[in-house]
């Protein structure tokens, strides 16, 4: 295929045929290039680099998962030990303690005066 053939076609022939000829000429004008001598060593270097980075990532991920599991187990153990020691929240005890602490505040309720009014 020469330039002349596809150029002649552009002169008014079938455009589709001209495009086909041009693309075939392009295929002939662009042969498969030869790889350089560094192609394979460079490829293997990239493969090893990718493997190394994925290994580091997986190690970091494993370390994070292990830390999260350890923290969960530790928290579960702490919760279990605190429930066994009998320390629990008792609402009534808290209110009694609060009332005892504020007895003086409760005194001026002046019950007598209310009873006086009732009388």
């Amino acid at each position: 295929m020469t330039n002349g053939e596809w150029n002649t076609s552009t002169g008014g022939g079938d455009d589709n045929e001209c495009l086909d000829n041009l693309l075939h000429a392009y295929r002939a004008a662009c042969p498969d290039p030869d790889p350089s001598v560094n192609f394979m060593p460079s490829l293997w270097a990239k493969i090893e680099a990718r493997e190394a980075s994925s290994t580091v990532f997986s190690r970091v991920a494993k370390a994070l998962v292990t830390a999260a599991l350890s923290a969960s187990v530790l928290m579960a153990l702490l919760a279990a030990s605190s429930s066994q020691s009998g320390v629990s929240f008792d609402g009534s005890a808290y209110i009694q303690a609060l009332a005892a602490d504020h007895v003086s505040d409760l005194e001026p309720l002046q019950v007598e005066r209310i009873s006086d009014l009732e009388q």
Binding site: N3, D15, N16, L22, A29, P33, D34, M40, S42, K46
Partner: protein, 202 residues
Amino acid sequence: MLVEFELLQSAQRGDASAFNQVVTAYRRRILGTISRLIGRPEDVEDVAQEVFLRLYFSLDQLRTPEVFEPWLYRLTVNASYDYLRKSKRRPESRMSDLSEQQVLMADAAAGSKAQVEEGEKHRVRDMVQGLLASVSEEDRILLTLKEVEGLSLKELEKIYHVNENSLKVRLFRARQRVLKNMKGVTTERQDVASSGDGLQKV
């Protein structure tokens, strides 16, 4: 297929020598396809290495030998897309570097037949790359695979995972766009040629 399935299976099991043989068998073809897809000779090897890198890390997914080559082409197309998107540039259209008249004069000065032939090839490359650069990446890659690489519609079906009719429609539209641009270029060339100093070459 350029290699036996047993060789691929050995490569799947991690045999580096087998993988080397697979790469050696296909690399020239892949380099050629990439060079015609991206139009940047200086980056062809990098993109080809990316293709084989992806092949290496996904080879264990291969189950049947008949899908290997379409799959390798798919990796090639995807790596080329990625390259084109990353670089945000299209193949250089060198048609604008020299006017038609300058090219003709350079040809006339070149003299020898080999140089003239090389000049013809250069001009064909520039013209096609210029035409393909004026359409979308999708159109360019599809047309190149079909019309330049010579893949059949069946092979393209496996690569693109779309049915034959859809491919025909896409190809037809892509051709129409290229033809439209070609007419524009032809008109420009004729205008330049007619305005020259009688230097006419067909």
